[in-house]
Symmetry: C2
Amino acid sequence: MTSQDTQLGDIGEAGLLRHLRARIPAAPDVPVGIGDDAAVVSLPRSALVTTDSLVEGVHFVRDSTPARLLGRKALTVNLSDIAAMGGISRHALVSLCLPSRLELSWVDSLYDGLLERAAEVGVSIVGGNVARSPDSIVVDVTLLGEVEAPLLRSGAQPGDMVVVTGELGAAAEGVELLRQGARLDDDAELSATGVWTESSAEAVLTCLIAQLDPRPPLALARSLAERGLAQAGMDISDGLSSDLAELCRQGNLGARVEAGGIPVSAAVSRLARAGGGDALSRALHGGEDYELLLAVAPARFEELQELASVWGVPVSAVGEFFEGPPAVRLRDDTGDRPLPVGGHNHFHPNEPEDRAG
Amino acid sequence: MTSQDTQLGDIGEAGLLRHLRARIPAAPDVPVGIGDDAAVVSLPRSALVTTDSLVEGVHFVRDSTPARLLGRKALTVNLSDIAAMGGISRHALVSLCLPSRLELSWVDSLYDGLLERAAEVGVSIVGGNVARSPDSIVVDVTLLGEVEAPLLRSGAQPGDMVVVTGELGAAAEGVELLRQGARLDDDAELSATGVWTESSAEAVLTCLIAQLDPRPPLALARSLAERGLAQAGMDISDGLSSDLAELCRQGNLGARVEAGGIPVSAAVSRLARAGGGDALSRALHGGEDYELLLAVAPARFEELQELASVWGVPVSAVGEFFEGPPAVRLRDDTGDRPLPVGGHNHFHPNEPEDRAG
């Protein structure tokens, strides 16, 4: 009945809903899943809920974003939020706005990614919505989770260490690489290096994966929250400078970051050496890292390091919180100065580095 | 700092988020509300969750839709889903996609409506998201509720009565009236009657209110579910013909509707008499009524009528379910024939009567 060329306008909203519902597996632990006016779920502990959307032309460009990876990322950006609260993700709702001329095969690839990522992390899709959009695609995911001891943005204390997981800057570099013509295919294989030669292919691949298929440290986030190893925390979505300023506001503290301690992505450093970019700036302001930013009491840092090594996640102490007005300072060889928030403004037209929140 | 003419591009995403957060009251029963990576909520019974969006150019036209009423409706369409499951709505997340050139005052009016409607029904807004949209406005609300005895779409039995609440057809007539230039202002007062004269003003107002500010029978839905007065039910969002076909599919039953028993909106009938439309067709296929469609055992109908009269909601028995392949038949003076599903297709461009699901 459907072919490669089938467009959504050919099958209609009801047809698309039936098609998608048939693809979504029934979850054994969900009393009422997809297909009623609302889903019934059972969350024995406190429930976590978050929502985040990816908008075509703002957070992604259709031509340079494989649909399957977009599906994965639409779930991942929400997984990162639930994990950053110390929670376990359980159930998702997927709300799509789709133009009539979009091919059904594109939506199927999006769902391939969504379902695959959901299966990886044990999340069931329990509901959602499809609506026609006049032009742009919007993928809006709401995620429910559960938590025992939520890790909040407030709670940092003077003397706490500023700690980040993983490496920073690669996802933002990935946006620039996409703009220069580098591409991944639907299987996340490198299909074009853009302006870069083969010798940089590995670094290009790393940055594109970071942008198109990020992998937040979900298990570490949950287990460190359960052990109370951080006083405060959040995921790094807007960029270290911006998100650390938020932890400072919520804790009513200042923070100082050591430039030499920032875990700049090795791939970004490599490309910057070859092409002349500013790797540290990407790491400080780039955003979309989906790593963790934590306030950790010095006495607990070793325990955190041990736990992180179990999950294979690097952790770096990059500075400290201190009593003072909420502001972030950066110290390097030349001294100590205010770190400007890497201000990007999603509402500013033609803003080069929009991203998911 | 802001004026009537402030546009979203002037204050940015962070500025808009701060502005909106300052407007949203803290909910006493929510452990962690807006401002963290996710909200923490506590739902003692089974949790209900649903999501629905209103898309500019598909579900509403900006010029003819007062922003405050749009805010109310964005919540209401979800309230209707939670109520149709027999639940109580508790917490909402609001995800907005907004163009940069939109005035902040428009967003404020939208939030006036959202917050006002939330307060009316005891819902707290616990989170959400704002994203830039290249062009169209999308208002996506996710609603959490709780339920003890969910009312499902499946469960109708042969011999059950087909019951609807309220009157049907006015919301769909409202779409046509808006197209003809009739208007409500932000206070839901009639500001233009379009092609109609003053003598029809009351009927025009009724239909516009039904379209722009629907009032589903929330309390009746919950209390009838708690008493087990219906075997199956759902809200009428796509139109009686379409939604009854869905109850038939889910119950694996046929249903027959008596044309004479359909509670056609008196306002629609009045306009049809004056202007020559087909009021019965609007009531059967129009959609967006946000009334209840129920399967009720004949022995329980009187009890349902008594309960409905407590809440001031009319109920009408319009037909019955019978053993047979899932299909809906309509009986009138001329006989008994299949009732075609009033097929509207949200993905068909220029479809005249798109609506929220």
